[in-house]
Symmetry: C2
Subunit: 176 residues, 2 copies
Amino acid sequence: MLTFKNNKMINYGNRGMNLEYDVNLTNQYYMEKEIALIYKKPVPIKVLKVNDTKTRIKDGFYEQKSTLDYNGVYKGKYIEFDAKETNSKTSFPIANIHEHQINHIKNVLKYQGIVFLLVRFNKLNKTYLLSGKDLINFLNAYQRKSIPIDYFIKNCQTIELKYSPRLDYLKIIDIL
Amino acid sequence: MLTFKNNKMINYGNRGMNLEYDVNLTNQYYMEKEIALIYKKPVPIKVLKVNDTKTRIKDGFYEQKSTLDYNGVYKGKYIEFDAKETNSKTSFPIANIHEHQINHIKNVLKYQGIVFLLVRFNKLNKTYLLSGKDLINFLNAYQRKSIPIDYFIKNCQTIELKYSPRLDYLKIIDIL
C-alpha cells in the first residue's frame, strides 16, 4: 500500500482514487526523483478568532481561491496548474473554472509561466492537459458554456494513468 | 494614503512599517506594472473541526512552515524568497531560518529556481538580498550561529527603501 508524508492525502484514501490523489502521488514521485518541486498550495483561511494563547483557531472560514491549486519549479521555470474533474461524457463545463482563476491564468501567461489544467473525464477514463493558451483561445473564439470533448481530442495531449509516475504530466510539458 | 486590495495588509498598518509591509507593497507594484506575479503563500492551517454545514472552521492550528513565504513568476522563472528581520546590529542569527527552510532553499536551487532571503537589520536601516547560494555556502564554510554583518557588506547587494517601488529586489535579481 502506498503511503504519504503529506497527511492531506489520507482524507482522499477513503474516496478511492481521484485526480487530486493521482496528482499528489505524481508530485511526490517528481520530488523523490528530483525532477521537479511542485506543491499543493494551502487553502487560504480567513481566521476570525483565536484562543487566548493564540495557538488555536476558534473561528474562521475558507476563502475563495483566486489562483490555481498547484505551483512549483521545473527546470528553473515557474509552473502552475489545477486539476479538474467532470462526470460529463461530452464536454467540460467552463463553470468548473472560477472567473478569478481564468484571469489568473491570463496573468501567468503574461509572465511567461507554464500554466495549464489537467482535465479528467471520469466516465471516459481520460485525462487531458489543456494548456492555458488553448483554454484562453477557446474562450476568446467561442461563446460557449462548455468545451466539447472533440476540442480536447483535437487539441490536447492525453495523459495515461500508470503505476509510477502515476500521471506524468511533465512529459507533455516537455513536448509543448 | 496608500490602500491595499489584499486585506492582510491592514493588520500591519497599526504596527507601522515593517519588512513584510514593504515586500507586500513592492509585490503589488510589480503586479500593477506587470513586472512580476508574486504572492505571499497562505499560512498552512490544520483544520480539526468544522461546523455542521462545513462552512466554518471551529478548531484548528497553524502548521509549521517548511517553505518560504513568497513565491511567483518573473520572466518565466520560478522565484521564491522570505523576508527576515533582526534587531541585532552585528549579525543575523541563523536560528531565524528554520531547518526545513534551509533544506527547502537547497531544493529550490537544485531545480534552478531563484531563491533568496531579504534580510533587514532594523537598527541599521539596512536591507540586504542574501542569495540562497550565498547562504548555503556560508553554512557549509562556517560553523557559526549567526552571519556577521561584514559578510552581508562584502557579499550582498543592499536594497534601498524608496517611495515606489518600495523595495526593488528584482533589480538585484537582474544583476545576479
